[in-house]
Every structure is written in structure tokens, then in C-alpha cells.
């Protein structure tokens, strides 16, 4: 059965890149442009993995993670961040705290993305 991945990011380039890279690997992809949209999409799409940015305008990524995790307890979550004033360590710490399983620091190359996705399914 094809695994489903939901990508939530307000940045179109990130959304489309992740979608195309993972679609090319055979995953079924869906994207959302913000947290609220992502939560709605999760209800119908029922993803196995959610890859979400944690700094987004509409609904903060943290809240998105918490609500998806609450509605879909089995779902795996990868938190993405472009950093800003948050360091890699801080991001991982925060992602763990929110219930995300892995963190991905932007920008990433295809190898890093695939490896993180693979690890989250293996976990």
C-alpha cells in the first residue's frame, strides 16, 4: 500500500520541492499552505507522515503538530525549519517537545530528505 505524506508549508518552493522529490520515490503526496488547511487535509487524506514547517503565519507550526498528533495518534511527524534565530539543537529540542519525531533543517538536499523520511517510517 502506498504511504501517504502530507506537506505543510506556507512557502510554495518548499512545498513543491518536497512534493516532487517524494512523489518521485513513489509516495502519495498532498500539500497544505498553512496549519489550519493541514489539519483539515489530514482528516480526509489520513497521512502516515506529516512534514510541517514550524514557523508559519496562520497557525503556528507547534499548534499544528499538537492538533494533528491529538487527532491522529499514529501519525509520524517531521518538523522543518529554516532556522532564523533558532539553532539546529533548539529546533530538535522543540520538535521533540511538541511530539515531532524528527527534524529537518532547511535547506536540505534530496539525500537528507530521503534519509529522514526513511528513518521516520522505520521508527
Amino acid at each position: 500500500m502506498t504511504q501517504r505524506i502530507l506537506v505543510i508549508d506556507d512557502n510554495a518552493e518548499v512545498r513543491l520541492t518536497v512534493k516532487h522529490l517524494l512523489a518521485a520515490q513513489g509516495f502519495e503526496m498532498r500539500t497544505a499552505t498553512n496549519g489550519a488547511e493541514g489539519i483539515l487535509a489530514a482528516q480526509t487524506f489520513k497521512p502516515d507522515l506529516v512534514i510541517t514547517d514550524i514557523i508559519m503565519p496562520e497557525m503556528e507550526g507547534m499548534e499544528t503538530i499538537q492538533r494533528i498528533k491529538a487527532a491522529h495518534p499514529g501519525v509520524r511527524i517531521i518538523a522543518m525549519s529554516g532556522g532564523g534565530r533558532l539553532g539546529r539543537e533548539d529546533l530538535l529540542e522543540m520538535a521533540r517537545h511538541l511530539g515531532a519525531d524528527f527534524a529537518l533543517v532547511k535547506p536540505f538536499n534530496p539525500g537528507e530528505l530521503s534519509a529522514t523520511v526513511a528513518r521516520s517510517f522505520a521508527a
Partner: protein, 636 residues
Amino acid sequence: MNAVHEVPAALDRLSVLEWTSDCVFTVDHAWRLTFMNRSARDLLAGGEDLSGQALWKAFPSFEDSPFGAACRRAMVEGGATEAEDFYAPLGAWYSATAHRLPDGIAVFFCAVRTSRTGDDSAVAGEMRFRTMFETLTQGIILRRRDGCVVDANSAAARISGATRDQLIGAMVRDGVLNSVDEMGRPLRLADMPCEIALQTGKVVRGRVIGLTHAHSNERRWVLIDAVPQTRPGESEPFQVCSLLSDITEQKKAEIAVAASRAHLALAQRVASLGSAELDFRTGVWQWSDETFRLLGLDKETVQPSIGAMLSVVHEDDRPTCVAALEHARNGVKPLPAEYRIVRSDGSMRTIYREADLVRDEANVLIGLIVTNRDVTELRLAERQKDELQAQLLHVQRIDALGVLAGGIAHDLNNTLVPILGLTDLLRKGLSAEKAELLDVIQHAGEKARDLVRQILAFSRGDTPDRAPVDVGAFLQGIRQLVRASVPSTIAIEWHLAKVPVILADTSQLHQVVVNLVANAAQAIGTRLGTIEIALSADDVVLKPGDAPESCVRLSVSDTGSGMDDATQKRIFEPFFTTKPIGEGTGLGLSVVHGIVTGHGGRIDVDSKIGKGTRFDIFLPALSDAEASALGKGPST
């Protein structure tokens, strides 16, 4: 000198007395003249015989004189009494001896100094002296060796408040002149100027003593000269002449001036404000005590002058001081200015000078008045405040840059995601030529990613992942990599001593070395040159005020172009670069600085234009105990 006045019994007394050169007269109990000899008639009565007249009426000047006193004593007490005094009607000194007789007294009266010589000029001299003596405003007191006052003029009486009668015949020790010294302490006999002159035989001059005025009970201040008088052929003075000047008013004025001067000096001291005045007419300077103190000059040994002042003024400030004085001489009021004083101990003071011109009633320029204020502490405080402000501005600027950089980096990271992510996806089915173009895109993306990482490292001060590191082994490990990053026209020399372990993030350490070496290589450019990388152990003060601590010193030096002071001051600022636009990010050294200070270390730069630059990085060493407590061996 007194004549012998024995009366020979065998001779008729009247006939002998009639012809003696002394004046002789007798008086009865009722003070009537009963006899006058020839000399008495000639000298005292103009040739008349005044027998039968009352003594005091015949010779009025006798009544209040010492002669009169001697006569009265003889009449009352008997025996022979003597008196010596200036007899004004004859203008000469006379001595009188009075003897009691059964029916009254006999008085022998003879000229003391002129009786034998009969010299008219001497008499005239004596008169002149006497007139002067009496008209002098200076008091004169003549005192015999035994302490008895034998004469005093009316000025002496006026000054002391005692009458001449009280003074004459008084003994010094009787305390008629209750005297104190200049400090107000009772004056002992041995310390009195007249006594000193008598004892030493030398003139005592300018002694100030205080007397209690007999009438008003006021303290009078008197300036005394005491002149001992010695007879020819004698070694010891027989009497002393004291000359008294009343200086009470001067003394009061002096005390008032001294008090106001002390007040002014204190005020100047409190304000650290010295004053100085130059009189253009005389060229004489006057400096206040505080001016001496401010200049660090001794008022006892230094004469105020422009030369004395310039000798302590800082070399660089002398021309402005001289110019100010020249302006003043030309009638131009000097503007306020500051100059520095170098004291003999080498310490430097900053003086704020204000000056104004002094003109007389006719508006003629006659002088210059200057105030000097020590503003060293004030200026220091201002400078510290300025420095703090500059530091604060610097921190604020860096912080603002950090926020800006963080924001840009965040957006750039999103933008880089497709570039780095999708190029690989496009590779399939492309010709080698086109794949090469994709490589270019990918490399550009990677460079952009590294740049953004550096910006972020600076903007947030990355929390490093630290572990004990053997820096020597670490440098050996990256040796090849460093060599490969530098053109072959540049030699790299390694001097790696054995050093203690430090706590560090190796990836950051790597970045430090790479950035410093890249910087060094850029400074050398396309010329031939050398980069030296040295490692040593050193004890260094890491934070101002701390004790030196054991450190690892990592030095990267180059033989490149070097930097001027202004550049050296700014090299650690983010985005500061000396490279042309597009060739440098200006982040490399700020990242190095951030990493080193993040490790609790220090970075120094030493550079000379045309000689090259050396960066010294000091990172605190771990003690053996600390290293083992961290539970890890050194990692590379």
C-alpha cells in the same frame, strides 16, 4: 659724673657754695627758696635772686619732673635723693641731688653732659635731640641694665597707655608693659627684645610683641627695635634703647587679609581651581597656592613665570599656551582651552583654562587674569561614558544586524530548498553537457547555503556541541584540507607544540581555522607568501581584571598586505569587508570572533601595513581533573 657735694665744716658754707659751678639752692619746709648761689641765680633765674619765692612758682617745670620728685622725697624721707632729667628750659640733661637740712632741703643742680665742657654746640645738639625725641611718633624707652626705665618719650606713653611717670623708674619686670609674643603667649623677661639686646650686645630688629594698653585694656601690637648702648671702653651695654612702632592697625588688616586669603585658598582647593595673574606693566606673575598645586610645582622654590608653567605643560600643548598669552598681550581675550600637565611623577592632569584681560580706569590693558581648573576626573568620566555609549551602540548594532540576518537567512533557506532539492531530479536523461550546467546551479546553491549558515551562526551565536579536544591532533587531521584550500604560491608552515586539552566544538574550530587561513591567503593574494600556523601553551588574561589562566594559543600569521589601525578596529564587525563588492561577505572574521568568545576565549590581532597580520586565538585549557571528569578522552 655727678659732682661731689660734701660741705667742708671748716669753711663758711655760703662762700664755698656761692662760687661752685653747680647751681645750689635751699628751700624751707614751706617750699620757699631760702638761698640761691651765683650759678643758680645766673643759670636758673637770669641773674635774679629769687629767695623768698615759692620753689614751684620760681621753677614751674620742676613740679612734675623727676627733680621735683627727688626734692619731695628728700623732704619727706630724708637722706640724699637723686634725679636726672632733661631740663627743658635749659635744653640739656641735668642731674639734681637733694639733701635734707634741719630747716628744709639743699638742692645741687648740675648739667650732666655739658657742665664741664660748656660747649654750646653740644647743648644745641642735645636740644635738637630732645626735640626730636619728643616729637617722634615712634615710641622710645631707655632702660638701664638693671631693668629700670630711665626715660620714655610721649609716643611711648601713648602707645603703651601708661603715663611717662608710670614708665620712668618702672622696672621691666614690674609688668607695667604686660607683653605677649606674636602668638599671644606671655613674654618672658629673657625673651624681651630689650633684654636680648642687653644680654647679647646686639641690635634686635623687627620683633613684634603685643602690649595690653593701660587705658583701654586693648591689645596693641608693637614692632620693636632694641639698640644696646655701650660706653667707650666697656664691653657690656649699660642701657638699651627700645624703639616702638604701633602696628596694631596693620596687624588687624594683616589678620583680616590672611583670613580672607585662607578662605580663598580653601575655596580654590575645594573647587580644584587655581588662579594666576600677570601684570603686563611689570611682567610679574602671581599664582595662587592651588595653581602651584595643580601644576605640581613647589611654591617655595619656583618663581611664577610662563617658563615655569611651560616646563610642566605637555609638549604638544605648549604652542596653544604661548599663543593664548600672545593674544592677551595683543588685547584679544584668550578663548577657554584645555591643556595637559605632566607632573614629575609622570602622571598627567587635564587643566581647563579660562582667562580675561584686565584694564585700568583709562581702559588701558594692564594684565591678564587666568583660572585653571583640574578637569582630569571629569574628562575621564566623560570618556568612560562615551566609551560605554559606543559599546552599547555597537552591541545594539550587532543585535539589529543579527535580527535582520536571521530574517533574511530564514527566507533564503526556503528559497534554496528547490535549488538544492530539484537539480538532482532533473539530472535523469540529460546530456553530460547539460548535467554540467546543473552542477553549476547546484554548487551555487551549496555556496549560498554555506553563506546562510554563517549568517545564522553569527545571528544566534550557535550553541556549540563541545567535547574535550586535542587541538594539535585536530590540526594534523585538517592539514591536507587546509593545504588544498590555499594556492600553491603560498607556503604553509606548521609549528605545533604539545598543548593541554580544551573544551571545544570541532566543527566550529574547523570553521575558525578555515576562515583565518582564507583571510590570510586573501591578504597575500597572488604574490608569493607564507602562512604560519602555530600552536603553543600560554598563560593569558582572558577577561580584563581576571588573573591569567592556562590557555591554548592558536596563531595564524601571514606575510600579506596588513591592515591599518582603523581597519583592525572593525574587522570583527559583521559585514565589514575591505574586499571589493561581491568578493567577500564580511562575515568570516565576525564568525571567528563569535566562535572564540562563545568558547570563553579571546582573539587578538596584530597587523602592520606591508608586513602582514597575525591573529592569536586563546582558548581556556582544561585541567586534567576537568578532562577526566567529563568522562571522555580527547577527541579529534
